[in-house]
């Protein structure tokens, strides 16, 4: 009898323990997988909502707000109406600020800040291109200094350089070493991920690398 009681209570307590401790990891993992499958703005909105709920419940974790930000940036990239882009990015910035307040030493957050600046350019290429690509570059360089092994910092710097006209020192030739460096870091990183840390960018970086090599 005693054994039974102990067994049952162990199960119960481990269940209870599970619901407090591992709900975070499980929910995050499930939603991250779902997010990477997103095809539409609505898909990203739904993921953003879930991440935001987790962020509100887990006030000490920066990753939920990180992913909320990422979702809103993706929505901004997909949005066709110019007037809607800034509102998405304003919300993205709020979530990113929250994440930065939790952990201001995380390189991934600066990568995301760089990406957010890049996303602002599409609203007014002629008016914003110069300013925001410089601001993006600043954040990405900060990220790369904080964590030289971060692949996304180099991938986005590559994108920045790639889309800059050659006379400003941009173009495929100038971007190639950055995509290469990103590729190395992606390979290095893929072995140490706990399943919650960001993994995006690998595929597109590979495509960009191939394209730059072809053009050179």
């Amino acid at each position: 009898m005693k054994t039974l009681i102990i067994t049952i209570s162990l199960i119960v307590f481990s269940l209870a323990g599970f619901s407090q401790k591992d709900q975070y990891a499980t929910s995050m993992k499930a939603n991250i997988d779902r997010m990477y499958q997103s095809q539409t703005i609505e898909d990203y909105q739904s993921s953003a909502n879930t991440f935001e709920r987790i962020a509100l419940a887990e006030k000490k974790e920066w990753l939920p707000s990180y992913y909320t930000t990422y979702c809103y940036i993706m929505m901004a990239f997909m949005e066709q109406k110019p007037d809607q882009i800034d509102p998405y990015l304003d919300i993205a910035q709020k979530h990113l600020d929250k994440a930065l307040a939790i952990d201001g030493t995380e390189a991934e957050l600066f990568v995301l800040q760089g990406m957010l600046h890049q996303a602002r350019i599409s609203v007014d290429f002629m008016g914003r291109g110069m300013t925001y690509s410089q601001m993006a570059q600043g954040e990405l360089e900060k990220a790369a200094t904080m964590d030289p092994k971060n692949p996304r910092a180099f991938y986005l710097m590559g994108m920045n350089v790639y889309s800059t006209p050659p006379m400003y020192g941009g173009g495929p030739q100038a971007a190639l070493p950055l995509f290469k460096k990103a590729q190395e870091n992606f390979e290095l990183n893929s072995t140490v991920n706990d399943g919650l840390m960001p993994t995006w960018g690998t595929e597109h970086n590979g495509q960009m690398l191939a394209e730059c090599e072809r053009k050179n």
């Binding site: 009898m1 009681i5 049952i8 209570s9 119960v12 269940l15 209870a16 709900q23 929910s27 609505e42 909105q45 739904s46 953003a48 909502n49 879930t50 935001e52 709920r53 987790i54 509100l56 419940a57 109406k81 110019p82 007037d83 800034d86 509102p87 998405y88 304003d90 919300i91 007014d124 002629m126 008016g127 300013t131 410089q134 006209p165 050659p166 006379m167 400003y168």
Partner: protein
């Protein structure tokens, strides 16, 4: 016993885990439209969901008792409600209210065109000023493509809504700039003295502007100078009109820059034949120094000084006998310097202090005669801005401006030197409050008082504007104001017993700005009083001058800009209708003044071709005919010129020279070669047959070509 206890405890736990409540419902906005993707959740829990395409949601929670349900979605006020969960399904129907905060405050747009990088919703960007074809990087020429302006080709200045050019004043960081245009020969258009690259904000007000700005009857060109530059850079330019060099040195919180340019039109005039008979093509030099120092997070010290010199000579038909010529020569020296300091006092008060000094000399030879004019201005200004709350801002300020003007005329025939001069001390004060209610309604109300020591006269000018948001992207604004300006220096030289000239503005504006398209329409009426009248031009007799002039101007201005419909093409269209008459100067009756044209229209197109790294631009301008004085005609100002047409094109090619970023800019005005005539000058005395012969006022050349290469090092 122990077993029972455990079992009870266990059962209790099971209930608490398994007692699930379902929450479901639908979320819409005020008008019943479904909201897709709203975040619905219980606070501090993982439980929640997003609404589907029909706005429906449904989720279950293991929580019981009182819980807070939250609904949030972009653009709406967050909805919160406490619910009691007992295990029974909860069904809700929720209506979200639009969040006006996301729209930002309402901006008062009546009479204002703004070019800025700082705000999200502006009509122009600073870059637009330097890329508009026909503008040649001259701020006033570009503002001339906006509605509310009249093209006056032989002057090159801004003429706004039936106002004379002197009725538009330029302000840099709040300080009035005296002599904002370059000095020029008769019938040769002048340019603004200041480069558009100096400013990151330009506000062009065609009326109804704030009480912060005075001494302008019609219009204010409000310029905001650059803050700290981005980086250290050296620039070289080589243009068809001359070379230039500039350098900016930037430190952490300070910067210094200097520039020098030399201009000589002689080589260009040799290449392209000119209508005018130049003895000496315009030659000049310009130099500028600026500094910036950031004293703390809110504190910024800015200063700049410019010095310009120009020299030119031409033969111009003599007005006493147009078959003869008179030799005109003009030498100009202009020094302008200004210092501004802005800082926060606590978190609620911002102090802005400014001081400026200007000295301008025009030395004009007319055959053997000489006219030497020297003007000096000193201005000191202090403004305090009190931010009472996010919704209420109060500003107050005081200014002192001392203006001194001296004219010397040497008559060779009489071998006599005539000298006249005056000094005026103008004291001004203003107070203004801006109230922004619920992001729907904004009110700006204030007033300005001025006292002129020379005139011994006071004026008090109330100004009120309101804006009301009529939709997410549309709004209506109204503006009313009284505007005073001291009589022109040419009259003050001889008569100090005059009053301020006065104008009243009434403006109604509607604007819609959506997805990179802007439409705005503005109707206005302006009433002039106390305009200066005289019997004889330049008479030294004080009784020659009085304030009995008056007039009106009314019309409609329409503006459309579209940066969306065609990819890589940005265009705007302006149209102004103007109905005006005035009785001023030596007019015998009220008449349409010579600078006013009834219809003005511009189409500006910019086309970026990525493959060529080139931006192409085109500007077409049209003005209906202008009146001119014909002494052979019985009626006053009853004759009209032919309409004015101009098509200007430009191209900017971005490239590199020796690995340095380079812009090659080519532009040409009046591509189609329209033979524009701006009016006629008549001989002052009739020929023996009693008729007055005349000559037309033309463009100085049919076309103006410009080629420049700009390298950044």
């Amino acid at each position: 016993m122990k077993t029972t206890l455990f079992l009870i405890l266990f059962a209790g736990m099971l209930t608490s885990v398994s007692s699930q409540t379902t929450i479901m419902g639908r979320i819409t906005d005020k008008s019943g439209e479904t909201i897709v993707g709203a975040n619905v959740y219980l606070e501090n829990s993982y439980d929640g969901t997003s609404t589907d395409v029909e706005g429906n949601f449904s989720f279950t929670t293991g929580l019981s008792g009182q819980q807070k349900l939250v609904v949030s979605f972009i653009g709406y006020v967050q909805f919160e409600q406490f619910l009691d969960f007992t295990g029974e399904t909860v069904t809700l129907s929720i209506i979200l209210q639009p969040d006006n905060r996301e729209l930002g405050g309402v901006e008062i747009t009546a009479g204002i065109f703004e070019a800025s990088d700082e705000k999200k919703a502006v009509i122009l960007r600073p870059l637009d000023i330097v890329t508009t074809a026909g503008g040649l990087a001259d701020i006033s020429a570009v503002m001339n493509t906006l509605p509310g302006t009249q093209t006056v080709g032989e002057e090159g200045k801004l003429f706004v809504r039936g106002g004379d050019s002197y009725e538009t004043q330029t302000f840099i960081d709040g300080m009035q700039v005296v002599n904002a245009y370059s000095s020029s020969m008769p019938d040769v258009p002048s340019r603004g003295r200041f480069s558009p690259y100096m400013f990151n904000g330009t506000m062009f007000s065609t009326g109804g502007f704030s009480a912060k700005y005075g001494q302008a009857l019609s219009s204010a060109l409000i310029l905001k100078s650059n803050d700290l530059p981005e980086q250290t850079v050296t620039g070289l330019s080589l243009m068809t009109i001359g070379p230039g060099v500039e350098h900016t040195q930037k430190w952490d919180r300070s910067s210094v820059s200097a520039s020098l340019e030399y201009m000589n039109l002689a080589p260009y005039f040799k290449l392209i034949p000119q209508e005018f008979d130049w003895e000496k093509a315009p030659e000049g030099m310009g130099s500028m120094m600026t500094f910036r120092h950031q004293t703390n997070a809110d504190g910024m010290l800015k200063g700049f000084a410019t010095f310009n010199h120009s020299n030119e000579r031409m033969n111009y038909p003599s007005l006493s006998d147009i078959d003869q010529v008179m030799a005109l020569g003009l030498k100009n020296n202009n020094l302008y310097t200004q210092v501004n300091y802005q800082d926060g006092i606590g978190s609620k008060i911002i102090s802005q202090t400014g001081a400026s000094f200007m000295q301008n000399t025009d030395d004009t030879d007319i055959d053997q005669d000489n006219l030497n004019e020297k003007e000096q201005s000193i201005q000191v200004r202090q403004v305090i801005k009190y931010i009472y709350s996010e919704k209420i801002i109060v500003e107050g300020g005081a200014e002192w401006q001392r203006k001194e003007f001296r004219q010397k005329y040497f008559s060779a025939e009489e071998s006599t030197l005539y000298q006249t001069e005056f000094t005026d001390n103008l004291f001004s004060g203003f107070a203004e409050a801006e109230v922004n209610c619920s992001h729907r309604f904004a009110l700006r109300a204030g007033g300005r008082v001025e006292y002129s020591g020379l005139l011994r006269m006071f004026n008090m000018a109330p100004r009120v504007s309101v804006a009301y948001r009529t939709g997410k992207s549309s709004q209506v604004s109204l503006a009313y104001g009284i505007f005073y300006q001291s009589p022109d220096r040419d009259y003050l030289l001889f008569d100090h017993d005059l009053d301020f000239e006065r104008a009243a503005h009434y403006i109604l504006n509607y604007q819609i700005m959506k997805n990179r398209r802007i439409f705005r329409v503005e109707v206005y009426r302006k009433k002039y009083d106390n305009l200066i009248k005289y019997n004889v031009l330049n008479s030294p007799d004080p009784s020659n001058y009085n304030n009995n002039g008056s007039g009106y101007a009314q019309g409609i201005d329409i503006f459309w800009r579209d940066q969306r419909t065609f990819s890589n093409i940005d265009y705007w269209i302006s149209y102004s209708f103007l109905d005006t008459e005035r009785d001023y100067k030596d007019y015998p009756v009220s008449a349409v003044p010579t600078f006013a044209s009834r219809h003005n229209a511009s189409v500006v197109v910019k086309y970026w071709v990525g493959k060529l790294s080139t931006q192409f631009g085109g500007t077409y301008s049209f003005s209906s005919g202008r009146t001119y004085y014909n002494p052979n005609s019985d009626a006053f100002l009853n004759d009209q010129t032919k309409p004015y047409h101009d098509l200007s094109l430009n191209a900017s090619y971005l490239t590199e020279i020796f690995k340095k970023f380079t812009i090659v800019h080519l532009s040409v005005s009046n591509v189609l070669g329209f033979n524009n005539v701006f009016g006629y000058h008549y001989q002052t005395t009739p020929n023996p047959d009693g008729s007055y012969p005349s000559f037309p006022i033309k463009q100085w050349a049919k076309r103006f070509w410009f080629l420049g290469v700009f390298v950044s090092i």
